[in-house]
Assembly symmetry: C2
Homo-oligomer: 227 residues x 2
């Protein structure tokens, strides 16, 4: 703990900055035992939270269900569903300098989750899904909003999809990566394509802690240029 | 390792017996990043595998996705979907003395998983689900089958639902527990109602390792009475 505490740099690139970070998947209940999830491990968001605290930021981490430990010096708020994550973000975003939305929030939830475990039948059945709120787009539409960084996990046309997503949602920056077998989710190494209004950069392939540090330096530069 | 190895009892209640155990949830893919899962942690099945090896059995563990370590002395086979678990069970069940089906296998899978990540739209949508094979019932219908123990996680009418499930599937024994907030899944303590043709017993509430030991002693007694 002493070693970790010493590594927090009061003169770091993010000294004095307040960061809100989301991480991990969300679980959308089907019934009390079943849910729709996704393959996010939470590692990228946790790596960003860890690095941000080490660079001197005050970090609030809103986390979906993961098996990861809370990074040293980080305030962690646990949520399960996209609606819970939405409410936690809207509650904590006010006054933050930077919002990094690294969670893999479910786009849809079950229209009417069952109160009791659904019994198996031999018939075909179906689940009706309704869209969840778009947390990062809603955050980007707030007055006096922070600098906002989104993520895009894509299986195809990564850069084009990410560029369109950044503009459609009104984000300052987007970090895109390709997912699929051996890439992105549930892996230690990753590659990030960083797109902002005036710049495009590729970081990695590298371990997520290195990527997190590089990404935060880019964000710190962009935020300092704004002011 | 030496301490653990010493705890394996060559004269234990299951000495010389071969056990096949399933544990954990299954993940049924919706697209490359989304899946339907369930709240099984895998702890009960892993506790049974650990205790069975300590009681002298030769243990094969077929495991869905979990964050748990392989128990000492246990052969572990990793699977993800219900179909993969089905195939692994059918491949490894032959010649086993006992089959304990502790996995929380998904009853349904997505009829046609998408090859690429499904794009978000603002419209309501639906998923068509089709039934998965009933692994434990299929195992119970095999010729020269092992002694078969199933599990029933129920949110209501626990004993009645479990008794009906045991008879419908042709199992030798069923271990039933109530699930819901603070109970069953993702918890350390548990309560098991054990039903066989001639006996009903309640074990616990107790930590899962203790329940596993008690359950295996009941199974060993039943198997020894058969011969």
């Amino acid at each position: 703990d002493i070693v970790q505490a010493l590594s927090i740099n009061k003169a770091g690139a993010l000294a004095g900055k307040t960061l809100l970070i989301t991480a991990g998947p969300t679980h959308e209940p089907i019934d009390p035992v079943r849910f729709i999830g996704n393959r996010s491990s939470g590692r990228m968001g946790y790596a960003i939270a860890t690095a941000a605290a080490q660079q001197g930021a005050t970090v609030t981490l809103i986390s979906g269900p993961t098996a990861l430990s809370t990074p040293h010096g980080v305030e962690r708020i646990n949520v399960s569903t996209a609606l819970e994550m939405h409410d936690a973000v809207m509650q904590h975003i006010k006054g933050k300098a930077i919002f990094i939305a690294a969670a893999a929030v479910a786009d849809y939830r079950i229209a009417t989750p069952a109160a009791q475990k659904i019994k198996k039948s031999t018939a075909q059945t179906s689940l009706t899904l309704i869209p969840n709120p778009d947390i990062v787009a809603e955050a980007a539409a707030l007055p006096n909003r922070p600098y906002i960084v989104g993520f895009a996990a894509e299986t195809e046309a990564v850069i084009d999809n990410a560029r369109a997503k950044r503009e459609r949602k009104g984000l300052d920056m987007i970090a895109a990566n390709q997912v699929g077998p051996g890439l992105g989710f549930d892996t230690e190494d990753n590659c990030l394509h960083i797109l902002s209004e005036h710049a495009e950069r590729t970081l990695g392939p590298a371990p997520k802690p290195s990527l997190a540090n590089e990404l935060l330096l880019l964000i710190a530069d962009a935020v300092n240029e704004q002011h």
